[in-house]
């Protein structure tokens, strides 16, 4: 055999023209040395892919997650482009974000965004075809900012400004009396939310109101009854459930992958003066502007107790129970809504709050360390809220079931319980490892991923990936506003409608009452009263 080949090679060599250098067989063999190595590599790679795929598919199938796809498009609004004239009541920081979602930018912000490259993402947002025609703020400086923004003709999504005149209103009553306003967005301090929302509904204006919903039981009941009797569209400002992963979370709950959920734990973790609502100084440490001449103090106070003008109260109103419910009103509201949208738990049977002012020892009323426990005996479930303003360790939002836990943040991580009944076999066979997440959903990858490699596990747990639709960052507030406007034009129910708002309002007021009165409070659902 060898000899024959060599002979053949010799023959071939002899056939070649004599002046050409020849390539010996031995040289070719040496040249090809890498080919078999590459062949083995290919086989091994295919084997590894098949193994990973099979493992991932098995977990995905076991969990019934095959059809859990991320939405890749935002549902376009209808063609109805009838004019919607919007008035903004309260033009502080939050209003700036709201009008950005509505399709408005202050000229300075536009310049800044153009310079840092973030204008493109904003311009890609769909234009919701709403015109801001009124601004109401008790502080001249804020009102001026609002007017300048409303008059800037730049619109996202190729929209064109209708160039309507923009009016400044000195009071919200004046704005609500005006027939030229169809809807209002309310971003005032919290003690005004319910009274203004109620008055707006009575005047037939649609309402988008920031949380919290109401500052007292009387306000809440009056608001609820007024909205129920009116035909307006009400939306409370909770944008978190607009995140694309929320639909997946709903499916996970619906498919009962967690088993019986008996504990939901949600947290607030902050550790800065800004985070503790000390906001009367600018970034350079200088006092922010404002005095009695430029701020209509009597109107700012509204029905709150009369006190002398104070920039501390004006900028740091969250610290005082006269204007707000503290952590409960500012942050637990968002947590409650996120959980209520998923589990529909509604109003708890009882609430117990405890905490104190342990770190930010200024003139505040609100606790800076706070725990609230809510009991749902009918649902056989406890909701626990734990908040601190003196430590920012991320503690997440976790739904704990007999079979698995789900951590819901900017990503979803699903981890089986070591003593789960449902996953007992898979845990025994090694398919599911209870000390590691068994699946994660990450809006960037566009699909459910049973986790296979250590790196992926690491990124999933740290939430390094943004919430995106089709690879483009999308503003959640914009989606929430868009839902409200679509409902105004086409009918339908908003996600944070008055029923959800009422449940949230009662829950928050129960927690607050418990903290203030240092006792366990209950909801009397027959007489509709907190006792």
């Amino acid at each position: 055999m060898e000899n024959k080949n060599e002979q053949q090679a010799k023959v071939e060599m002899n056939n070649e023209e004599p002046q050409k250098p020849t390539i010996k067989r031995r040289t070719i063999l040496k040249a090809m040395a890498g080919v078999p190595v590459l062949g083995v590599f290919g086989l091994e790679l295919a084997g590894k892919m098949a193994y990973d795929n099979e493992k991932s598919n098995r977990i995905v199938k076991e969990l019934g997650l095959e059809n859990l796809q991320a939405p890749t498009v935002i549902k376009s609004s209808s063609n109805k482009k009838d004019l919607l004239r919007i008035g903004i009541i309260g033009y502080g920081n939050r209003a700036v974000t709201l009008v950005n979602g509505l399709g408005y930018l202050h000229p300075d912000d536009e310049k800044r965004r153009r310079a840092n490259g973030s204008l493109k993402d904003w311009l890609a947002q769909e234009n919701v075809n709403a015109e801001i025609t009124g601004i109401c703020d008790v502080f001249d400086l804020h009102a001026e900012n609002g007017l300048a923004t409303a008059r800037n003709p730049t619109r996202p999504g190729g929209g064109v400004s209708a160039n309507l005149p923009v009016k400044r209103y000195r009071s919200y009553q004046e704005m609500l009396d005006d027939k030229e306003i169809d809807a209002v967005m309310i971003a005032t301090p919290d003690h005004h939310h319910a009274p203004i929302s109620t008055a707006a509904a009575k005047a037939g204006k649609h309402v988008y109101c920031e949380k919290s919903v109401a500052h007292s039981e009387e306000q809440l009941f009056e608001l609820y009854n007024t909205i129920k009797e009116s035909k307006i569209v009400y939306q409370l400002g909770h944008q978190i459930p607009q995140s694309v992963i929320f639909e997946q979370a709903k499916e996970i709950i619906k498919k009962n992958l967690l088993g019986k959920i008996s504990l939901v734990e949600t947290t607030t973790n902050r550790n800065s003066a800004e985070g503790a609502w000390i906001r009367n100084l600018d970034s350079k440490g200088n006092p922010k502007p404002g005095d009695e001449k430029t701020i209509d103090w009597a109107q700012w106070l509204g029905h709150a107790p009369k006190v002398p003008f104070s920039l501390d109260r004006y900028y740091n109103w969250t610290k005082f129970f006269d204007y707000d419910l503290g952590l409960i009103g500012q942050l637990f509201t968002h947590e409650f809504d996120a959980i209520n949208q998923l589990l529909r738990i509604g109003i708890p049977k009882s609430a117990v709050s405890s905490g104190g002012i342990y770190y930010w020892k200024d003139n505040r009323d609100m606790a800076d360390v706070l725990q609230c426990a809510f009991e749902y005996p009918d649902r056989e479930l406890t909701l626990l809220y734990s908040a601190t303003l003196a430590n920012s360790r991320s503690r997440g939002r976790v739904f704990m079931g007999h079979d698995a836990s789900m951590e819901l943040g900017s990503t979803i991580t699903l981890t089986a319980d070591a003593d789960s009944t449902r996953y007992k076999k898979q845990i025994a066979s090694g398919l599911i490892n209870p000390s590691q997440p068994m699946a994660s959903f990450n809006p960037n990858s566009g699909k459910v991923d049973a986790i296979t490699s250590a790196t992926q596990k690491y990124y999933a747990s740290r939430g390094l990936i943004n919430t995106t639709i089709n690879g483009r960052p999308v503003d959640l507030t914009y989606l929430h506003i868009k839902e409200w406007i679509d409902c105004i034009r086409n009918g339908g129910t908003t996600s944070a409608n008055i029923e959800r708002a009422f449940e949230e309002g009662v829950t928050c007021l129960m927690a607050h009452k418990s903290y203030v009165e240092k006792r366990r409070v209950e909801w009397d659902h027959v007489n509709k009263k907190i006792v």
Partner: protein
């Protein structure tokens, strides 16, 4: 000029490094949501400014991800097959040295991702980079590799022109 054992040792080293780099490339290609974002975010020392500039520009980040993945695959193929070995080895050394400079185990630099070994200044990445320099300065593609054919072909054409 070289003893057979010297030749074999270099070729084996080249193929092992090629295998490793090729699989690094493929594993990034196959992980649909892989991005260098996490690695670059952790960047410390000399290149941290540059890395943070990359991640703050989504277009640049995408380009870096693409070039990194396909660069690794090309280098891996070159090393295993012994094709354009010197170019592959030098590019690989530069790439690995860039990784090293982004997270060198220097005293005082702390990373949130734990390393899989214990390193002080010298890490496996640095050793692999230097091993590639070694391969680049020896004609290992001519010991065993497609460079033999490339070389022959080139020489033949060269002679014709003369």
């Amino acid at each position: 000029m070289y003893t057979p054992i010297q030749r074999y040792a270099l070729v084996v080293l080249r193929m092992l490094i090629g295998w490793h780099i090729l699989f690094e490339g493929f594993s990034k290609l196959l992980a649909s949501n892989w991005s260098s974002l996490g690695f670059l975010r952790e960047s410390k020392w000399l290149l941290s400014g540059f890395s943070h500039w990359i991640i703050s520009h989504p277009g640049v980040l995408q380009a870096v991800d693409f070039l990194n993945t396909w660069g690794l695959i090309a280098i891996g193929l070159g090393l295993i097959l012994g094709l354009f070995t010197r170019v592959a080895a030098i590019s690989g050394a530069i790439l690995l040295f860039t990784y090293y400079l982004n997270n060198p185990p220097l005293i005082g630099l702390e990373y949130s991702v734990p390393t899989e070994g214990s390193y002080l200044i010298v890490s496996k990445t640095l050793i692999e980079a230097v091993a590639l320099v070694l391969l680049a300065v020896f004609p290992s593609g001519l010991f065993a590799g497609l460079d033999l054919l490339v070389n022959k072909y080139w020489n033949r054409n060269h002679k014709k022109e003369e």
